[in-house]
Structures are given as C-alpha cells and as structure tokens.
C-alpha cells in the first residue's frame, strides 16, 4: 500500500469509526470544545485587559508644575528642555485656568475647596505623554532631576506612585487570569487524555485482534490518530462557534451595569490568527490525546482494563 493509499485508508476508517461510535466521539469532541472555549475566553479577557491597561498607560502623563512667578521665557525654556527628550510638540501646556477647570470637573465634590484659595489657585504646568520609552531608566532619572532643579519649576510629578499602583492592579488581574488559565489548561489536557485513554480501553480488544491478524503498528494507530485529529478539529471549530455565539449574546441581552462589565472584559473579539491558533490547539489536543493513549506497547495485549 502506498503512503497515499494508507492515508486514505486512515481517513475512511477514522470517519466510519466516528460515525459508528458517534456517542463517544461526541463526548471527545465536546470535551475538546469546552477546553478550547475556555482557552478562547481566557485569550479574549486577557487581551481586553491588556488593551485597557495600555489605554491607561497612554493616558498617564508626566506633569511639570511651574512656579506661579514663572515668566513666558521660562516657560519656553522649560518646553525646549522637555521636547529635547520627548520630541517636538509632545508637551502640552496647561494654563492655570484650564488646570482649575479640570480639577473642578474631576473632583466636583472638592470644587468648593478652590474657593478659599484665591484667584489662580493651581499653577501652570506641562503635561507630557509617558510613552516615550526611548530613554532608559537611568537617564530618565537624570533628566527628571535636571528638570526639577530648574528654578522656574515648582515640582515634577511623574505619577510613578500611581503608575506603580496601576501596574500592581494589572499584575493582580493578569496574575489571577494566569493562575486560572494554567489550571484550565492542565484540566483540559488531563480531561482530553482521560477521555481518549478510556476510549482506547474500549478499543483494546479490537486493537489486540488487529495485531493478531498481522497489522503493523502503523496501520493500527493511523486511524486512531486521524480520529483524534478529526475530533480535535471538530472540537476546535465548535468552540470558535460557541465563542462567537457567546460574544454576540453578551452584547445583546445585557443592561447597563453588565454592559460595562462586558465591554471591559470582552469588547474586542479575537483576531483571525488567534482563532486559527485555537483550532490548531484543538487538533493538537485530539492528536496528542490519541498518541498519548496509544503510547504503551502493552496496550491491547490484555482484554481486561485495569
């Protein structure tokens, strides 16, 4: 038999087995589908959280407060000093009035506090996006010191406190997701190999007979491998379907509060490349399970499952 003929034989054999033992096949397919689905949920949620974090990081700014007595020349000098590093046009000048307006809208409950502090209670400042990561940590520190030492600068607020807090939160959330993710992955692998191993137990009499009438391992295992592969593919595709359906349902039937949750966790769906990855994962799981469960040479030598 040529290799192509053999391949054809494997596929015919595998599909007829799939159809004949459709209950068990369905079980295996669903198991893989559930696992891949969970993987997909993890990818979606972690992807969205990462997006959110990036957004927060983008919005974070370095603020250089100027002394109230700073002249226009001082302001220009400081701007030049800043843009030398962060790039031309990157620094936004916030005059005292704007600062006050922003404070009022950000902390309406504290707005009254400003009343007692006379006219122009907040200083002018420069705000610079912190995404200019070209500068290394060491030289950034130096530059910040230099800025802070400028006589016209009252204070440099680089928000690193807050950034650290943000990082901590992202870490918490990602950590949580990773822990759950790893556990899920282990469960999935475990489940799939359980199901396929039990299936192999069911087939072991059959395998024993094939061996006894002169089949080589290649012909015995081929159909099972292809069966595992097909089950895995089906499971993966099914999971993608569930993900799509679930994603759709999440954004259709939800009211306000849930809507917020949904949009934070699952606004963006997976890109095609990751969908493909998930299907490949399902196929690999199916094939891997089959390989794993047929691994032992001794399998099929005894009719009694132990």
């Amino acid at each position: 038999m040529t290799f192509l003929q053999a391949l054809r034989y494997f596929f015919v054999e595998a599909s007829s087995n799939l159809i004949r033992s459709w209950k068990i096949s369905l079980l295996a397919i669903l198991t893989i589908a559930v696992s891949v689905f969970l993987g997909g949920v993890f990818l979606i949620v972690s992807g969205n959280l990462r997006l959110l974090a990036d957004q927060w990081r983008d919005e974070n700014r370095l603020v250089v407060y100027l002394r109230p007595e700073a002249a226009e020349a001082d302001t220009d000098r400081i701007r030049a000093l800043i843009e030398e590093v962060s790039g031309t046009g990157s620094a936004e000048y916030v005059d005292p009035q704007t600062a006050e307006d922003r404070f009022r809208s950000a902390f309406p409950s504290l707005a009254d506090l400003l009343e007692g502090w006379g006219d122009q209670p907040l200083p002018a400042s420069f705000e610079i996006p912190t995404d200019f990561t070209a500068l290394e940590q060491g030289s950034l520190e130096g530059w910040l010191k230099e800025l802070g030492a400028d006589p016209a600068v009252q204070m440099v607020d680089d928000d690193r406190d807050w950034l650290a807090q943000l990082d901590g939160m992202i870490l918490i959330i990602e950590g949580l997701a990773s822990v759950v993710g790893v556990i899920l992955l282990l469960t999935a692998v475990f489940t799939i190999s359980s199901v396929i191993r039990l299936t192999a137990y069911l087939y072991q009499d059959e395998i024993a007979v094939m061996r006894l009438v002169g089949a080589t391992e290649f012909f015995i295992r081929g159909p099972f491998y292809v069966e595992g592969l097909l089950q895995g593919l089906a499971g993966g595709i099914f999971a993608i379907g569930m993900l799509l359906a679930g994603h759709g349902a999440l954004f259709r039937d939800t009211d306000g509060q849930q809507q917020v949750l949904a949009s934070i966790l699952a606004e963006t769906f997976l890109p095609a490349s990751q969908l493909l990855l998930l299907v490949a994962l399902g196929a690999a799981a199916g094939l891997g399970g089959a390989v794993l469960s047929l691994r032992k040479e001794s399998l099929g030598q005894t009719a009694e499952p132990e």
Binding site: S21, D205, V209, L212, G214, A215, E217, E297
Partner: protein, 256 residues
Amino acid sequence: MIDLNQVSKRYPGGQVGLDEVSLSIPKGQLVFLTGASGAGKTTLLKLIYREEMATEGYVLVNGRNVSSLPANKVPYLRRTIGVVFQSFRLIPRKTVFENVSYLPRILGLDHREQKKLAYETLRRVGLAHRMNAFPMQLSGGEQQRVAVARALINQPDILLADEPTGNLDPELSEEILKLFLEINLQGTTIIFATHDRELITRVGRRVLTLHQGKLVRDQMLPGQMLPDSAIQPAVEEPAATSDLGPADLAKEEGAR
C-alpha cells in the same frame, strides 16, 4: 516449516501450558492436535504465531526463531499464518465483510477486489448472504465460520485452526474439513486442534496428542480422506516423525 525444540511454557500464575515439547512439521502437512481440556493445544498454537512466548526452548517457523523476532517483524510473521481462534475474536464494531477483509485491505487491495475476495471466501463457508451483518447478529456457528473465512482469505502458508468446528453441526463441520483439505492440497501447512475423534479417524493423517502440556503421542493414522475436488495429491505425504504405530485413538488419555 514448524519446529519446536524442547519448548516449555509456564504461565505467570505457575500454570504449565507446555512441557518440553519437541516436534517438527514439514511444509504442506496437515496435522491434528488433540488432548483433553487444558492439555496445552491453544498454548502450542499461540507460541507459533507469538501471542505467547516460550519460557524455555525455541520455536522455529520457516527456520526463523519466533521468540527472538523483533516486535516490528511480528506482523509479517502473522500475515503468513491464518488463525481460527477458539473464541473467534471478531471485531464487534466491524461488519462480517470488514472483519474478513481486514488483512487484504491493509495490504492494499482495492475495494472491489476486497469485496470479491471476501464474497468468494464467505461463500465457501456458507455466509455470503450475511456480509453486512455485525458479529453480534450472528449465531455461534455463523461467527465461527466468519473466523474461518478470515483465516483463509489471505491464502496463508500456515493455517492454525483452534477447534474450528466446535460450534458447527456435522454437515457444516464436514464442509469446513473439506475446505481445509483443499487448501492443504494447494500447499498450506495446517494444524487442526480438535476434540472430534470421529473426524480425526475418518480423515487420517498425523495426530499429535497432548496431555498436561506434554506431547504424549505422535502417530500417523490411515484412512486418508481426500477432498472431492482432489484428483491427485499436489504435495507428497511427509513421513511420520514418530514411530508410534496407529492405535485406537478413542482409548487415549482418558485421565483428566
């Protein structure tokens, strides 16, 4: 063709399967294997197609030591040996056709030829009309005949038949026997394990008798029944390897 040299088989539980058996079966011979229940008939056959391995001595098939055959060569040995298993060992998930044509199929025969071959072989055991049934849908005797067909389909060099007529009525047993005699005439070496003394005495040929794992008798019986289709023997009758004269087989090994 088949040589056993001081072969013993002791099962893990301590049971003696075979006990220092030596014998030689030349190519083309038809040999009956008999003995009480538990005497070691199935064990002897299992050693030849290597379902079990001898614990002592060695088994040669076609001059090759079966025990020292590497695992990946075993399938090729088995393809030259057709086996009718005592418990049939049909695959329940496969139809009669698929069970019977499994080996031709993996050997690369195309579907039409498989079908033709399976039909031909099943017709000879009277089961061509049940090709699409599953084993569970057959009577005991029908299952046994499927097992016979599977063993014959690939025209093996050696046929090991373990009690192949135990579930068949005398008429069918007769037909199966004729079939075996026919393929024996075409050169196939046959070991036929059976309890049916009437059948043995009628056919004649060489008879090996086991008792508690030991080969206690190796005799040549007269009364050479030939298949209807045989005009003249294609293979000359080999000489008996034992000098024990023909005896009343029915009086053999009464003690169980």
